[in-house]
Symmetry: C2
Subunit: 294 residues, 2 copies
DNA sequence: ATCCGTTATAAAATTAATTTATAATAGGCA
DNA sequence: TGCCTATTATAAATTAATTTTATAACGGAT
């Protein structure tokens, strides 16, 4: 069976129009008719009901079912292409969310350079959620991901390498600045300056506000830690971050949280379960583990 | 790309010999050479190193990686064939382990018959572990599985419908027969008659012996409940079963366990996540749920 | 009644896969 | 060394599969 037929079929399920599918693949319309016929013969079933009366194309139960498998097969094929591309180019695509890239990656990069392996690494940046999908879909080979819960996905293998509590950052002039530790509930009524993008921080933060029954007054969201820190220093609001960011400022004070069962910023090395590690990749992983898990 | 090429490739990975693979598919040897060439072109990589010197075929890293995907694609295709077969024959293959079939299925069957849906059901019998794989591989569509822990698998969807504690069955003449409840540790030194096949019972039993630090003296194992019960009645040994079996005997006494955190015989309705439920299948599932979860 | 947008069909053309026949390579062994 | 064997590769011929071209069929809309 030709996978091209599955691709035609997959599009037909989506577009529900033979001629348009043909056009989108740059082939003629009878090609699609024939492809569907071949699949119907191969699987010994009707895949579509051609209801010309109400000019719509009805997908049969079999069609629905095959569509799921077609997608899965085409996806797998796509991953195979990407993986083999990376392999032959001796290139490992390493997914890194910005915060992790800033805090953890410099160490790793230094070590990889010592060993002459840095040239084989190409980083791919994006939020943790986006990278998780990129990894699943074969765009990345390894990723360092942050999460509020231990990662566990069908097709991914996660190995936790660090776990940091979240802290509260306040301006040195802020009344709470004299404290060392506080309960999250004491922040009721505060103004907050938070991350805009990071899924993980928001998940953890929302969990805490919900648990403490208050709606936070978020006055600003920024994608960059320094922007947030500057705003905190100016006492525009307080922030909620891990201490992997920027501890060397005298105008900002870090407060630990005293709450039980605090969420943590968990960092993991993640790979696809279907990915076969080459020698080089195993060596890179070893370096990642040794550098990160100390 | 033709999936036939992947099938040739998959076998070549396993057999490492072009001529033999050709023979096993009933084609000539150059066909395999050409198929590999097509894949190498398609993925722009070398898949094998033909080391004629030590006459062995070396699989490259790319080859290893593609092999994983090839298997996955061929497996998916196989599942698709089976599922569509069942669909067009309006047939639902229901996997049932013997104990569940005996205890739970009669009720279900009666209800399905009332609704005229029994004829669409075909049962597939086997142990829980075997059935789990059969379900994953598309041989069955729905299964009722027993387990000692809640089921959780990558590609399967489990829905618990019952949970029964395990009991101890002793002969009416046995010293413990006067008791109603005992601790598992009191069985140290007893002879046991157990199930031979059932993974679930053994898992639970082993957990308890390990926790209570003794090596059980298993004098006999049988695949059939009645055989076990007869042996227990004759005081050949005591047994470890759920009370879904055979309570109407006067020569055998059932004892409850007093231990904390006892393992349970958990029964679940299990389906493949990739399976699209047709109307009929949804109706059958509804009957299963209604009949079983009461 | 004719036109439009659809999908199907059949023959021809094109492209792809397989076979046949044979070459090439290297080890084993007399 | 030279011949035999077990391999895999190559090239031309054959066969099979896919796609195009051209046209039909269908049913709704104008």
């Amino acid at each position: 069976m030709n996978t091209k037929d599955l691709a035609y079929f997959d599009q037909l399920i989506k577009q529900k129009n033979f001629s348009k599918v043909a056009a989108s693949f740059g082939v003629t319309q009878p090609t699609i008719t024939m492809a569907v016929k071949r699949l119907e013969t191969e699987f010994n079933t009707k895949l579509f009901l051609r209801d010309r009366a109400h000019h719509e194309l009805i997908v049969t139960d079999s069609g629905q079912q095959l569509a799921v498998h077609a997608q899965s097969i085409l996806g797998e094929l796509d991953i195979a292409h990407q993986e083999l591309d990376h392999l032959t180019q001796q290139r490992i695509i390493l997914g890194l969310p910005p915060i992790i890239e800033n805090h953890y990656f410099p160490r790793v990069a230094a070590r990889l350079q010592e060993l002459g392996m840095l040239e084989n690494i190409q980083t791919l940046e994006g939020g943790s959620v986006w990278l998780r999908n990129a990894l699943r879909d074969g765009q990345a080979d390894i990723a360092l991901l942050g999460s509020a819960e231990p990662l566990s996905y069908q097709t991914l293998l996660a190995e936790e390498f660090d776990r940091k509590p979240f802290n509260i950052f306040v301006s040195a002039q802020h009344p709470l600045a004299k404290r060392k530790r506080i309960y999250f509930s004491e922040l009721k009524g505060e103004k907050f300056v938070l991350f805009t993008s990071s899924f993980v921080h928001n998940t953890a933060f929302n969990k805490l506000t919900r648990r403490n029954h208050f709606r936070p007054d978020v006055v600003f969201r920024a994608a960059d830690t320094h922007v947030i820190m500057n705003l905190v220093a100016e006492n525009v609001g307080v922030s909620f971050l891990t201490d992997i960011v920027d501890q060397h400022r005298h105008d900002v004070v870090r407060l630990e949280l005293l709450d039980d069962e605090q969420p943590a910023f968990i960092t993991s090395i993640v790979t696809r379960t279907s990915h076969v590690l080459t020698g080089t990749q195993q060596r890179v992983l070893k370096v990642l583990r040794e550098t990160l898990e100390e």
